[in-house]
């Protein structure tokens, strides 16, 4: 049972990593709109030769 002294803190640590990722996602606005991305998947990629935006966004 002694392995629990190691495993349980590890589980808490992993959960903390998960929460950190979640916080990043929320601050990045990933959860602000959860419906339009589902629609965006239907749109085709632009074909070759079509003018691209001047520079992509960071």
């Amino acid at each position: 049972m002694n392995v629990l002294y190691f495993l349980v803190p590890l589980a808490v640590l992993l959960a903390t990593v998960g929460v950190a990722a979640f916080m990043w996602a929320v601050r990045n606005g990933q959860f602000d709109d959860v419906e339009t991305p589902a629609i965006r998947m239907l749109l085709d990629d632009e074909e070759e030769g079509v003018r691209k935006p001047d520079n992509a966004m960071k």
Binding site: M1, A11, A15, G29, D32, T36, L42, E46, D54, M57
Partner: protein, 843 residues
């Protein structure tokens, strides 16, 4: 939805044929003669898409995915004043944010987006307008985020590009929306952390319930309890601070005003949390007694979840209110000393300034007309559907629309000092005075925690005296099984899901209280203009020569008068460009103020106008026409006569037409035992005629009612007759009554004060959504009662069984999440606002 191609070359055309662009029925006078459209707006957009080569992809995508929001015909009108604001330095400074490299980001509201095709088209912006780097559309909120280079791209260019496809862009008033988004994100993060803590505390708790205790592995058990304490401390301090702060504030208030009813709903929750945490913490430190950190942390997480869901479900209503507020004019044309015009911000306009208001625009201020003759539509202010003629020296009020000719107005009051502004201020102050609604379930779950603590002590005492060794597991089972998270989530979750569903049916419910009140409504008070009727002049009936009416319509394309517009619309369709080739050519015309129009059309001398004026031109009218005209006047319609070459050829009746659904909805309301009243500022004769058509007794219909009288009427119904009143209206004149009623419902096209005052507003036309709303809220309340009943029964039965020693702690721990799951599923599967008019949607 029908495919676009199937109807493009349809030979048979019925009023039900779908418009090729928007899919709504084309009606009796379709536009175009190959592909058919419901209005010129749709035709213009269809042609613009075709010219740009977007049509194939656009219509394919549109048919691929179901529409997301209620569809409306395309609008291609561009408001130049509004556009002007987009390019001002003040706008660039206040409403856009820098994102680096001289690039700025801005948020715009887009009217008219409703499906995948719209997302595709709008997000092509970077390819089409130079200087736009990225466009992202948030479809449910109709919000477009643009990254652009102010040096190279003008926002007016963007707005014009969007407008040619029927999307109207409005500058969003950033502050409110950003604040809401921020609050939502903060709560979401808090929520994530609290669930993570709760999940880990549950892990320890499962081990402890499963039999790990100080007798078999003292050090591990102690470690688990201390670890739970550490995690729970974070949850209580960080997650629970929401509840503590509010309950502390309400306690201070309660002590100051010596009234315990001002205690906030968070107070019992806070007490329960603190008592449970304090006891568990002491048990951990002293090494004796039980811990129930898991119940506390899960409760915090569950309550935060419910709160977040509520916040998120209301954001649609909040956004929609803001979008409507953004429609208010914010710029105006001021006349300089040298008689030239400058476009200026409305805040900078002072009393005594002179402003110019072109035909078709809304007066932004209260003032006196300095020069110009025109007609003004006061429907928004008074409910009167007939336009009023105005001349220099007469006053006009903010909110009225200038109809026929430009006017110069000397400002008397601007902004908050106008009559409309004062009304808005009154309504806002009323809103804050309303007592906070105490939600039954929140209160219950708070007291529940306290009650459980008492029960736990009783159980402990009783079992210690009966069988000391069994006392501990029974107390633990009781504490676990009576965790009130299902109870705490039952109401908010059902409400949140319901308001999301309602928003998809174009119904925006601002508060949960309104949902509850709507089910108790036994009296419905209706406004006439714009609510029961379409709120604009329409051709209702005519008699005489069809060709003469075509000649008259051709002549009327040169006038802005509402009757002229109505005639042209009826003859052509909703003409935005007005000059359609289908009508005969007008060679000359003149407008005779207050009488009508006269001119040469197709080599005929045509006159259209008031019957008395036509009589002057032609001599006595034929008796058949005289009879018709008398009939029109009796029904409250506005009669018009047409003379061709000195002979009266046709008579027409114009009026505010009843919406198609009005009669059925009113009959349904009456059938369900509600009393229906009709109040209007319009002439009594018109109101009585409408009431008769609708089958309302004349004793329940009142004309010439002022806004103040409307409010008093509602007050009397509520207080003297103890009725629960729903007021349904749209105008400024209804705002006070909407505020006064138990539930105020503002309908599509309503004015700003009425939208602020209302508890519910509808963005689909007519009364059909009202019927959906009333049946829908009944269903929501049924779901809530089901949820509450289930979770209470579960908790009471569970607690009873645990006290009697029938349940093991482990079984209780398994049953707890199951009960929450049942409540969640029961809330999510509800479809309260689904009706045959809405396509079934998948959430």
């Amino acid at each position: 939805m029908p495919t676009a191609t199937a109807h493009r070359t349809g030979t048979e055309i019925t009023p039900d044929t779908p418009c090729v662009h928007c899919g709504l029925p084309v009606g009796r006078y379709p536009v175009g003669d190959g592909p058919y459209f419901c209005c010129t707006g749709c035709r213009v957009v269809f042609q613009a898409l075709h010219t740009a080569g977007f049509d194939e992809t656009f219509y394919r995508l549109r048919d691929l995915a179901p529409a997301h929001t209620a569809i409306r015909p395309a609008q291609t009108a561009v408001d130049d004043l509004k556009l002007f604001e987009l390019d001002t330095d003040a706008f660039l400074e206040n409403q856009t944010q820098p994102v680096g490299d001289g690039i700025r980001s801005v948020e715009l509201f887009l009217d008219g987006v409703h499906c995948a095709a719209c997302v595709w088209l709008v997000e092509r912006l970077p390819y089409e307008v130079a200087g736009v780097l990225e466009a992202r559309l948030d479809l449910p909120r109709a919000r477009l985020t643009l990254h652009f280079d102010p040096e190279r791209a003008k926002l007016t260019e963007v707005a014009r590009w969007l407008a040619q496809f029927g999307y109207v862009a409005h500058p969003s008033r950033q502050q409110g929306m950003t604040r809401r988004t921020e609050a939502e994100r903060r709560l979401l993060i808090r929520l994530g952390i609290c669930w993570m803590l709760a999940a880990n505390v549950m892990l320890f708790a499962f081990a402890l319930y499963a039999g790990l205790d100080t007798t078999n592995d003292a050090s591990l058990a102690t470690a688990a309890r201390w670890a739970s304490l550490a995690l729970a401390t974070v949850a209580v301090v960080y997650g629970g601070s929401e509840f503590f702060r509010r309950s502390w504030a309400s306690m201070k208030l309660a002590v100051r005003v010596r009234n315990f009813r001002s205690l906030h709903i968070d107070t019992p929750i806070s007490l329960g949390l603190l008592a449970g945490f304090g006891h568990s913490a002491w048990a951990t430190i002293s090494g004796r007694g039980d811990v129930w950190f898991d119940s506390i942390t899960v409760l915090i997480a569950a309550l935060l979840t419910a709160r977040w869901l509520q916040l998120r479900s209301r954001r649609l209503a909040g956004d929609a209110t803001e979008r409507l507020l953004s429609l208010l004019p914010s710029m105006t044309r001021r006349v300089r000393a040298d008689d030239s015009l400058e476009i200026t911000r409305l805040e900078d306009v002072q009393p005594r300034d002179l402003i110019e208001v072109p035909a078709g625009e809304v007066f932004p201020v209260d003032g006196v007309i300095e020069s110009g003759n025109s007609t003004v539509n006061n429907a928004v202010l008074t409910g009167e559907s007939r336009p009023v003629a105005v001349a220099p020296g007469m006053t006009v009020e903010a909110g009225a629309t200038n109809l026929s000719a430009p006017l110069r107005v000397r400002v008397q009051a601007a902004g908050a000092e106008t009559r409309v502004g004062k009304l808005l201020a009154w309504i806002r102050s009323q809103k804050t005075q309303q007592a906070p609604v105490v939600l039954l379930a929140d209160q219950l779950s708070g007291y529940f925690v306290l009650g459980v603590l008492v029960l736990a002590s009783i159980t402990a005492v009783v079992w210690l005296s009966l069988a000391p060794s069994e006392a501990l597991p029974h107390v633990v089972a009781l504490l676990v099984i009576s965790c009130p998270c299902a109870l705490g989530m039952a109401t908010p979750l059902a409400m949140a899901v319901a308001s999301g569903r309602a928003a998809r049916a174009s119904i925006f419910i601002k508060s949960d209280e309104a949902t509850q009140q709507l089910t108790a409504v036994d009296t419905v008070v209706l406004d006439k203009t714009g609510t029961l009727t379409e709120g604009r002049m329409t051709l209702l009936d005519y008699d005489g020569d069809d060709d003469a009416i075509d000649l008259a319509a051709a002549l009327e394309t040169h006038s802005n008068h509402p009757i002229a517009t109505a005639l042209v619309q009826a003859r052509v369709a909703c003409g935005l460009d007005g000059k359609t080739p289908d009508l005969p050519q007008v060679e000359a015309f003149e407008a005779i103020a207050g009488e009508g129009l006269r001119g040469w059309v197709n080599e005929c001398d045509v006159a259209v106008g008031r019957p008395a004026w036509i009589t002057e031109l032609t001599g006595p009218l034929p008796p058949a026409f005289e009879e018709k005209l008398a009939g029109y006047a009796g029904q409250g319609h506005t009669p018009v006569a047409v003379a061709v070459d000195g002979r009266c050829a046709a008579v027409l009746a114009f009026g505010d037409r009843l919406r198609d659904a009005s009669k059925t909805v009113i009959e349904a309301l009456q059938a369900s035992g509600k009393e229906v009243y009709l109040l209007s500022g319009d002439h009594d004769a018109v109101v009585q005629a409408v009431a008769e058509t609708l089958g309302l007794p004349s004793a329940q219909a009142f004309g010439n009612v002022s806004p103040e009288q409307k409010r008093t009427f509602v007050t009397t119904l509520r207080h003297s007759q103890q009725r629960t009143v729903a007021m349904i209206g749209d105008g400024v004149n209804d705002a006070a009554a909407l505020q006064e009623a138990d539930v105020g419902v503002a309908v599509q096209g309503g004015s700003t004060p009425s939208l602020v005052a209302a508890d519910v507003f509808l963005t689909r036309e007519g009364l059909t959504p009202v019927a959906t709303l009333l049946t829908g809220t009944k269903r929501v309340m049924r779901v809530i009662r089901r949820n509450l009943g289930f979770s209470l029964a579960y908790n009471i039965l569970g607690a009873g069984a645990a006290m009697l020693g029938l349940i093991t702690p482990l079984a209780a721990a398994v049953a707890m999440p199951l009960s929450s799951l049942v409540v969640v599923i029961s809330s999510i599967i509800q479809r309260p606002f689904a009706s045959s008019t809405n396509p079934p949607d998948a959430l």
